[in-house]
């Protein structure tokens, strides 16, 4: 008889899974505890740290670890902006579009990055090196407009400064500052 089961092939690196398992184990999740999901978002953050993104395979796995359905995980992942199901660039550019930054010209800064890299916000360059996203307020509004590249914060960014900011990332391999999938 043909197998109707939905195959769960694991394609993602097993050492990543090992790390994630260690983290999840630390919560001692009890499948009968109605409140077990209170650490789900924490676990998703961690998983995204480790794997760089939250593809379906990983979501299904996490669902299994919590004894909840994949739909529940997917509903949560798709709700929150910080979670992504596609890999982002090695160099992640995040332009703050919060109010303080917007009224100080963030839109122009974003457009300038988009023009420079030939991608739109939310996209990744073909070589997978750069991605641009926008977010709403890092709390560094005093330095508006604010841009972060990986974890480094750049304040008072002007369109003219973009070239020089990017230069650093364009020349070197761009790997050393990424945390994605490397820790």
């Amino acid at each position: 008889m043909e197998n109707k089961s939905k195959p769960q092939v694991r394609m993602l690196p097993s050492e990543h899974y090992a790390k994630l398992d260690a983290y999840i184990d630390s919560f001692h999740i009890d499948p009968h505890d109605d409140r077990r999901k209170d650490v789900l978002i924490q676990v998703l953050h961690k998983a995204q740290d480790i794997f760089g993104y939250l593809p379906e395979e990983l979501q299904v796995y996490i669902a299994g670890r919590f004894s909840i359905s994949p739909a529940e995980v997917s509903g949560v992942v798709s709700f929150y902006n910080l979670f992504t199901t596609t890999p982002r660039g090695k160099v992640r550019i995040n332009v703050c579009m919060g109010t303080a930054c917007y009224v100080n010209g963030a839109e122009k800064v974003l457009e300038a990055f988009e023009r420079k890299l030939g991608i739109k916000s939310g996209e990744v360059t073909e070589d997978g090196k750069f991605s641009i996203e926008s977010l709403r307020c890092l709390g560094a509004c005093g330095l508006a407009p604010v841009v972060t590249i990986n974890d480094k914060v750049y304040g008072q960014v002007q369109v003219e400064k973009i070239e020089s900011i990017l230069e650093h990332y364009l020349t070197e391999t761009g790997n050393e500052e990424t945390s994605d999938g490397k820790n």
Partner: protein
């Protein structure tokens, strides 16, 4: 008790009542879309998402959703002020602005709550023009059709699937304007753990969730001169299809149904109730064997494919528990394509079997690889009660004016036992009638097992089989089923025989049945219709069905024979 004033009329209601219910009490109609309370069927959707039920409450800053706002003493409510009607109209216009204007092409047309509201509000222009969300249609399962562009986010399906059925196949996905209810990661349904019970379909107010239709295919077969087209109708159809023709609810229309089918041009009109009797023959034998040997208990019934999917997808470790008997219509399909085709002297591949079912899961079941015999599908198409009603209408057949006719021989003869399969508890009751007589060798005089009838989610009884007290239960609604299965897993289940139906209330409430707003009462009426057929039946025990006896004599030998195993039983996947 709380006193309040609605539209200048006083009303007194119990504490905790909502404004909506208080208004209903004095026959003030407030429109609703998301709210749904199915009473004893234990489904309550109270997400307050559509806001169409907004009313004005004196002293309150904004309008109140009447479906979820509890009354308070002295409250003054207006349900049809200018402000209220204006807001409701805008809300409806907003909903329509993100909805395809496809009524003519929509299987839900005339049964659609959104459409009805648009009609009631006299909507004649498209007020807002803007971006619409766009999603692909999903018919991957060949059973359930998802058309997310028609979804209004009432979340009824989510509540049904996640809380009532506890399948948890659906979730709200995404955020904001593009939020939609979908399986995980918007995957095609067939990749999810949906069991195709179709209960979401039965609560969806729009055409966002429907069954995959096979009307076109059925007509094509009927008009194909090279095919012998055989139809079978499930017990629950006769209790409900009359509703589509304005026949009083709860009045069975068995004879009219057979007549109508014949008029449609089916070459043979059979009754799945015969298959039900056959199922009892096989299942009873398994029950007797396992109960008398006290082995591998409890034994679970297997005639509901929604439940079988639930078992396979969610409790694969229990796959040894159920009877291996196929569902009645699949047994029928096999018998038609083997025994009956041979009898007619036609090739099985030239026989087309159409099952008319109250059920969405059977569409999926019939398409599964294991349900074929010698390379030929056992059942070719499954159409629902609703689809058959449409075919009747297209074919100019008004059931009201049909004279009663009988089903064809030999697979048209049935018993009262087979008929009650359509209500929760019925399979168990039918099985007990046979099991009792087989084990005790005594005649069962009172065949009515009242304890396992009715709308309760779990019903139980105990019967004495020659000193062995057999504890039985009937569970319907997968949430109730889950609790029982978890007990079995833990080893704390007390039962010996359990009947399981995926749909709350059983097939009378299947996902393919006519839509209705007064669901709780309607289901009870449909149940009553089935029990009335049973109590009026001459033969009320499956093993006494003469055609069944003949079939075993001519073809299968006896229940559980090798041939029976080959053709009437199945296996569950790992």
């Amino acid at each position: 008790m709380v006193n309040l004033i609605i539209d200048n009329r006083s009303v007194t209601v119990e504490d905790g009542t909502t404004i909506l219910d208080a208004a209903r009490k004095i026959n003030i109609k407030i429109p609703t879309l998301c709210y749904l309370d199915l009473g004893k069927l234990k489904m309550l959707n109270k997400v307050s998402s559509c806001r169409i039920c907004s009313v004005e409450v004196e002293g309150r800053r904004n309008l109140a959703p009447s479906c979820s706002t509890p009354v308070t003493e002295g409250m003054k409510v207006k349900t049809n002020s200018k402000r209220v009607l204006f807001a409701r109209r805008k809300i409806l216009e907003l909903l329509l602005s993100n909805h395809p204007f496809d009524c003519l092409l929509c299987s839900k047309s005339t049964d659609c709550e959104l459409q009805s509201l648009a009609v009631e509000f006299g909507i004649e222009t498209q007020h807002y023009h803007g971006e619409k969300s766009s999603f692909p249609i999903d018919i991957s399962s060949r059973a359930l059709r998802r058309d997310p562009e028609k979804c209004i986010m009432c979340r009824r399906c989510e509540t049904m699937c996640n809380e009532v059925q506890t399948v948890k196949a659906l979730t709200a996905f995404g955020r904001g304007f593009n939020t939609v209810v979908a399986p995980a990661e918007m995957q095609p349904l067939v990749n999810s753990n949906c069991v195709y019970c179709g209960q979401c379909v039965s609560v969806c107010p729009t055409g966002a969730l429907t069954g995959v239709g096979y009307i076109k295919e059925t007509w094509a077969a009927l008009f194909d001169p090279t095919k012998t087209v055989v139809v079978q109708v499930a017990p629950a159809i006769r209790a409900a299809i009359g509703e589509e023709f304005g026949i009083a609810e709860g009045v069975p229309v068995t004879g009219k149904l057979a007549a109508g089918l014949r008029r449609l041009g089916f070459n043979a009109v059979f009754d799945t109730t015969f298959g039900a009797d056959l199922t009892i023959m096989e299942e009873a034998r398994e029950i007797v064997e396992r109960v008398t040997k006290n082995k591998n208990l409890p034994i679970l019934t297997s005639c509901c494919p929604g439940w079988i999917n639930f078992l396979e997808f969610h409790f694969p470790d229990l796959k040894y528990m159920p009877s291996t008997s196929k569902s009645p219509h699949q047994m029928m399909g096999t018998v038609i394509k083997t025994f009956y085709a041979r009898k007619l002297g036609v090739q099985p591949s030239d026989v087309v079997v159409v099952s008319v079912m109250p059920c969405i899961a059977k569409k999926y079941e019939a398409a599964q690889p294991e349900h074929e015999t010698g390379g030929v599908r056992d059942v070719d198409y499954v159409i629902t009660t609703r689809e058959l009603a449409k075919m009747f209408k297209e074919g100019g057949i008004d059931l009201r004016y049909m004279d009663d006719e009988d089903f064809d021989d030999p697979l048209g003869e049935s018993t009262g036992a087979g008929v009650i399969f359509g209500a929760t508890g019925g399979v168990l009751e039918a099985a007990l009638r046979t099991v009792y007589e087989e084990v005790t060798g005594k005649t069962l005089d009172n065949v009515n097992f009242e304890a396992i009838r009715g709308l309760n989610g779990v019903k139980e009884a105990a019967i004495d089989l020659n000193g062995r007290i057999v504890r039985v239960a009937a569970a319907s609604g997968l949430g109730n089923v889950r609790q029982i299965l978890e007990k079995i897993q833990e080893g704390s289940s007390q039962y010996d025989v359990i009947e399981i139906m995926a749909c709350p209330g059983g097939c009378v409430n299947g996902g393919g049945q006519p839509f209705c707003e007064d669901r709780e009462e309607r289901i009870e009426k449909r149940m009553k219709a089935l029990y009335s057929i049973d109590s009026n039946a001459e033969i009320r025990k499956s093993h006494e069905n003469p055609s069944i006896k003949k079939l075993y004599a001519e073809f299968f030998g006896e229940p559980g024979s090798e041939k029976a195993h080959e053709l009437l039983h199945t296996e569950y996947w790992m």
